[in-house]
Symmetry: C2
Subunit: 560 residues, 2 copies
């Protein structure tokens, strides 16, 4: 009797037919699934009516004449290649070498390689960039993320694993490698943050004698050239938006511009008719609304109300209410909140109709903007779930440059001043005088930098800036504004003193960008051997205890 | 009065002329060398007789109309860009951002980027390989080099920095990424070995369903395609030599085949007429000679004799003598050593003539081969120095595959058995039965592996092998032969049990290969920011002490 089996490799599957006379010579009895076979045979069209249109090779089969078992798999492997999406992630990571055979992971890793190669072709072949490998064993960068330390053979002396090649790329500019890039491995010990890996990859770029326009132009071209979907190419340049506009219209520093439902600033209409939450100064007080029209509002899932309330509950310095517009609403609860006059002004500004849903937030400007930004996303999720609005396309071309960030921000937890991007970011030309003339921290938060972020479909995929090339200004920013101990940075400051051209650059987070390109649920789906969420390696079980001999070599002892 | 100055960037220099009327507006007085200028002007042919043919831009100059100082350098920089080769290396590394401006380093880094890009184009575009980034934070690989450890937030638990992606690439083969490569960062804590860096780069390759021939063919093509000297292209395939032949003819596992002066095996001629050194068994005893003919021997530098004696002095289990052939030599000291009969047989075999120089070594086979290999190189150095022989060309195409290595060797220091390449190397097909039938260590050293090294002009630039894909054989090699604790390798053994195709690969040490391509004195000349010989970073001073807070995070204490 003819027997059938399926052959699979990294490129796909094909059906094999073992004719009766052959199966007598080459028995597959007792052979475990996932064993490695070599077959010789003839590709033939499947008999009439037996084609399987769902599979690319569904119209053919291989009639086997010779068969060799190259390596047997053991019975009952811990995960099933087909059931990739059903197995627990930790089990899949533990047996990654099996899980990698899954079609999705094959696709993701192959696409990742292709996209990065196209980026290289653009950078090197079209633009004359030089790819330079910079060290990862370095000295601690003050003021950034927690860095892994690496003990050396010199007692008490440690390297730090770089969190980015920032300092090296600036020193390369000083060293006349005027167009640098690198697909750079970076390290951050931030195991508590979701969707982060202790080691990750960025496309890291720096140019000399440049400005924001030139960097933006380059990055757009790199993305256009490396875009993997040929039937849906990116064309034209990407829109820009100031951070102020992004917050005002979308309540986010990474606006998803694939849909509207923008925030409406109702501050003027409402005036002083609403109680300012505690701790908010009058000049910082704002009110924003989002309206969902009756046709959609009537069909919204009931759970949305609670979701929005939970978002509001987590937001400091602001208040939120959601209210269905009734014919008599200007005398209802909202009117009681705002007073009738303000309620009518609001109604006029928003053209409110019966059964519209009004989402209203008020409070401290940046906080209420952020809250309403999250409200907007949650509301759209619900609208999309009920198919009341067009579904956001994952490969929509909504790239957006967000520009004119403040140079410094206040850390919300510590109240300390810190760089919005990093301490090497140059001031906006229009605000440079304000910075150099800086005498107190009073107006420091209004100084804008020359930083720019790239957002795609509501996700930040990269960021960059023009850097400070003047050593005095850099010293001043470190010492007088940020009060960062700059002994750790003496080499960079020396470099700026040694003839440093104006320079600037960019970095794209490749894991995240490729994950978005692949529609992957997490960056772990585009990394061959990712760590789990807690930074552990389920495959090798690393980290593990080391020997006493190793502790001796590195002059360390473990303290529980 | 017209003033002249030189503008320099990463691509070269050009002469600028500041006309009298312009220099009144833009003074360069007091401006330090290496400051950053922007000039606008007209490119003009230099006046008759003022061209400088030694410089690519020597026939032109720029007549400056506008000039702007973009950034001043400080006076008296610690190193002079032109004097690259005269400054102490540590000073150059400390101010690498200045040193990088030197023409040689610019050339090296730019060539490195180009060569590696061409390798990628060949691997990805021509051969369909997938570039996969594998982790560097991993678990200790037993039996290899000392690995750096990285403490984690879990007390007493450490990552190790990978010494190569070997395990990951084998797991990728199991995972159906059947053509993998990576320009991989690797780490080894071997600061005591010269011309090593704690982090280094290799072109790392692995293929499934392959054999030695296919790997060799691929590597040759990658090198041909990425070869940077277009007027001197590499053509054809590279010769092969067994390790046994390489040792017999060149006394080296990385023979420099750019010149002859091969070792002559005189064992038969000499027979038992010479005293076997202590500790050498008769069956291991060999005698080799190298002859330098009278015409060259007469002109050799006198220092050579001593150099050769010193090489001999460092060689265990063997003896060496060097002797000028005199008309009556068969009755002289050598004849006394060998007996007249053997001396005459020797003379006949080597066609010795008066004034020839005979270099004669005898002792334990591999030791005397190695000694004579070193003698051969030292003798050729001397011949070359006196211009008695053709100078070895650094870009000569003497690539050579060395094959048929023994699978296991005895560590010369510890006497322990170890893998000649690494524990994952498969046996030679002809010797596989001997390995699987292995019962005692008696004949284990005669078993050959499927490893292969690539040698270029006498330097090993890469190595690889076909791997063991059978988990039982791999377990046996680890457990019964090498006695390596394989708990650290459970994931790899599990992978081999899960359906592992036959596979093999290769790795090229890119730092060394590019250094040879650039005629660089050391690999540090082709690395942007190298560590110094002791593994320290002269630029940032890393490694440095870390804070108590960081020690607390990683649960470590320093022990002096």
């Amino acid at each position: 009797m003819n027997k059938f089996f399926t052959l699979r490799d990294g490129y796909g599957t094909v059906q094999a037919l073992l004719p009766d006379n052959v199966s007598q010579r080459f028995s597959l009895d007792g052979l475990a699934f996932e064993s490695i076979l070599r077959v010789r045979g003839t590709v033939q069209r499947r008999p009439e009516g037996q084609a399987n249109k769902a599979v690319p090779t569904g119209e053919i089969e291989i009639h086997v004449s010779e068969l060799e078992v190259l390596n047997q798999a053991k019975k009952r492997l811990p995960i099933n290649v087909k059931d990739h999406n059903r197995a627990k992630e930790n089990l899949r990571l533990e047996h990654r070498y099996i899980d990698l055979r899954n079609r999705d992971l094959q696709h993701n890793l192959r696409l990742r390689s292709q996209v990065i190669m196209k980026m290289r072709e653009c950078m090197i072949n079209d633009y004359g960039f030089v790819e330079v490998e910079t060290p990862t064993l370095f000295r601690r960068t003050p003021g950034g993320a927690q860095e892994f330390v690496v003990p050396s053979r010199k007692a008490g002396h440690f390297y730090s694993l770089v969190q980015s090649p920032q300092q090296f790329k600036q020193m390369l500019m000083v060293g006349a490698i005027d167009r640098y890039f690198q697909i750079a491995r970076c390290y951050r010990d931030e195991s508590t943050r979701p969707d982060r890996q202790p080691e990750f990859t960025q496309l890291d770029i720096e140019m000399s004698f440049t400005d924001r326009e030139k960097v933006i132009e380059l990055i757009e071209q790199v993305l256009r050239k490396s875009w993997p979907y040929r039937d849906n190419p990116i064309s034209g340049s990407f829109p820009r938006m100031t951070l102020a506009d992004a917050m005002e219209r979308f309540g986010s520093d990474k606006p998803d511009t694939r849909f509207g439902y923008e925030l409406q600033n109702l501050s003027a209409a409402i005036g002083t008719q609403i109680t300012v939450p505690a701790g908010v100064r009058q000049q910082d007080f704002r009110t924003y609304g989002i309206v969902i029209r009756a046709a959609e509002a009537r069909k919204l899932p009931t759970g949305l109300k609670k979701t929005l309330e939970e978002i509001a509950k987590k937001s400091n310095f602001c208040k939120f209410t959601q209210s269905k517009i009734t014919p008599d609403w200007t005398t209802g609860p909202i009117a009681r909140l705002l007073g009738q006059e303000a309620a009518e002004a609001l109604s006029a500004q928003l053209s409110l109709q019966t059964d519209d849903l009004l989402l209203l937030g008020w409070g401290k400007q940046s906080y209420v903007q952020n809250m309403m930004g999250r409200i907007r996303l949650a509301a759209y999720d619900a609208l999309e779930e009920r198919e009341l609005v067009p579904k956001r396309q994952s490969h929509a071309h909504n790239f957006l440059w967000v520009v004119d960030f403040p140079m410094f921000s206040e850390n919300e937890e510590t109240g300390q001043i810190e760089s919005t991007h990093h301490p090497f970011t140059a001031p906006h030309p229009d605000d440079a005088a304000a910075l150099t003339g800086f005498s107190s921290l009073e107006n420091i938060y209004t100084i804008r930098s020359q930083a720019y972020d790239l957002v795609w479909n509501g996700v930040e995929i990269g960021g960059g800036s023009i850097r400070i090339h003047n050593s005095q200004l850099q010293r001043m920013v470190l010492q007088d504004v940020l009060r960062i101990e700059h002994a750790h940075l003496h080499h960079l400051l020396d470099a700026l003193d040694s003839g440093a051209p104006p320079h600037g650059g960019f970095a794209i987070g490749l894991d995240r960008y490729v994950a978005l390109l692949c529609n992957a649920a997490s960056i772990r789906e585009v990394i061959a051997f990712p760590k789990s969420l807690d930074g552990k390696d389920p495959l090798s079980k690393a980290p593990v205890p080391i020997s006493e001999e190793e502790k001796r070599i590195y002059h360390i002892q473990v303290v529980e």
